[in-house]
Symmetry: C2
Subunit: 158 residues, 2 copies
DNA sequence: ATACATGCAAACATTTTGCTTTGGC
DNA sequence: GCCAAAGCAAAATGTTTGCATGTAT
């Protein structure tokens, strides 16, 4: 829904170019090489407002490089390990990936019939819980995923 | 095949026998036949305090019937459609299933390293949001899934 | 007697890996 | 030049379906 447009002087961490550069910097710092495929994958994830699957990315016609699935797969795996992107467990068979925007958290609404995914513009009440669970459970690097499922209006009519 | 026994003196909706009977009744009412495999699948899901995969269920040695994977798969699919069980999107490749206990809702804590799943004993602050989203989005039959991920103590030491 | 349920095997879809070649540094 | 990344193809993993047979109703 909300589409952020890049205004040259905005300093927000969501400015696409800014996010891209930071991600590339972090990737390079971790030893990744700066390739066309890497940049393309990151750009796609940054520009999409819903999570994308491996297939979405590898087959994207917006991609200049047309990278192989295996390549995209390995990139996604590395980026996930570096905590630059996140892998989500949505409900269909495929894994979904999404950019991590520092300081932001997104929740989704998924149609159980057609699988359509929408980003929710809500403030998530779970953040506070997270700290509590971190202490109590002794788990580290905790994050959460909150997903809503339901039948979308279009599917509901059928 | 055993018929559903009523236990007139149990009151909690979580009493295993009670839940089983109710589930069987609903299944029968929807046209399912009362088979050994059906009862076994339900019993396993009711008795487990974490979600189970198709493989978990089909290979369970606690199962009297040793039902085939395809059979279990079809049962799970039907039970999900009848809203007797729920399919969860956890993080590894397999789908997880869990019993729906009327009026209850569970959240989970998953280790991103070893995949261990623990049920969280917290009160979920999201219920209220659900209603709000239902109205706003015009989606129907909304439910949610809240999952926490992190590195468990054991994996953290490695 | 009639359908639905089952078991087995095969088809699918997606992820993951091996190996050779290409290309960033 | 060296080692990581890419590309291709094959293996692995988990899900889904087809079909002949068994069984609850």
């Amino acid at each position: 829904m909300s589409t952020s447009h890049q205004h040259p002087h905005t300093k927000t961490t969501r400015d696409p170019e800014c996010v891209l550069c930071q991600a590339l910097d972090r990737a390079r710092a971790q030893g990744l090489r700066m390739t066309r495929a890497l940049e393309d994958v990151l750009r796609l994830l940054i520009d999409s407002d819903v999570p994308l699957t491996l297939a979405d990315i590898a087959e994207s016609r917006h991609l200049s490089s047309q990278a192989d699935r295996a390549t995209v797969y390995r990139l996604l795996t590395k980026l996930e390990k570096l905590a630059i992107i996140r892998r989500l467990g949505l409900h269909d068979r495929a894994a979904y990936y999404t950019m991590i925007f520092p300081g932001e958290h997104n929740d989704y609404l998924v149609c159980t019939e057609c699988g359509k995914i929408a980003r929710l513009d809500i403030e998530c009440p779970v953040e506070e819980l997270e700290t509590r669970i971190e202490k109590k459970s002794r788990y580290t690097q905790i994050y959460h995923e909150l997903m809503f499922f339901g039948v979308c209006p279009k599917c509901g009519r059928a």
